[in-house]
Amino acid sequence: MHEMSLAENMLQLIEDAAYQQGFTRVKTVWLEIGQLACVEQESLRFGFDVVTRGSIAEQARLEIIETAGQGRCGKCAQSFPLAALYESCPACGSYDVKVTGGDGMRVKELEVE
């Protein structure tokens, strides 16, 4: 259950931003999660609810934006949407596929007051 520590990291990012930008309450958090990121969304939501209790982000709405996985073939250099790490290149069948996108987790923006 590393989603709990991911949620703690999220809260830290938010609290750092609150300190720098002087807001005292967070109403919405837009979180971008790549399709290939190693994270379980429901556990993350649960973790976020737990760790934000008593914080400036208590009761904040968590909006998750999923971004598609992207891969690039090491053999034929084709770029293509990659839904899972074990998929092969649709053009040449090679498994030599490098992930080029959709494997991250970013806090995009916040609605604050």
Partner: protein, 243 residues
Amino acid sequence: MRFRSHEAKAETAVSTSRIVKLEQDILAKNNGYAEANRRYLSAYGIFALNLVSSPGSGKTTLLVKTILALNGTQPLAVIEGDQQTENDAARIRAAGAPALQINTGKGCHLDAQMVGQAMQQLGLQDDSLLLIENVGNLVCPASFDLGEAHKVVILSVTEGEDKPLKYPDMFSAADLMLLNKCDLLPHLEFDADLAIEYAHRINPRLQVIRISAISGEGMTEWLEWIREGCCNAAAAKPEASLG
């Protein structure tokens, strides 16, 4: 199940709210600590490995055998991560190497900050080998960079051949796979070639060593791999850190 009333929020939305752009990676904090660890390690020519696997694949046994085989020829230290107990650190100390146990409690992985603190407490030697045994878990440790040179994933032949397909993140993050408990192959249905093929589907650059901590098969190759890494780390050490 929790319900949030979006409508109720919308009614009060006329207030002073504004949008703040962050665009920050959730793992940025951990990655920052990991980079600090990596800078420290390279400044002192230390070769660090992060050993990851499911519980019981033989990490500690392999470490003990590795320490005994190196027999004092290579200065080294071990960081042990487990949710509970000092047992694994005690096994390492009994083999003659300094070890520090981190208990993560409910935490299912080591993070870079914990490891940075442990590195300071251990007082690592120049040009040494640092072996980090992560918490037995094939999922979570994949996301947390510790500042190591390589992740080494251990898969034992008593697990399924399709583990690499089921837990692709870890096999994708690793640079070396130790296929452990190969002494048991004659007694099992396990298809080693198939397991390796699956691992290479996830990560074509993954190096593989078939090994047994019990019979010693593959140990020479593993020790050679370690020695080469240690030599390279020591050679790459900037002159400034000497003295």
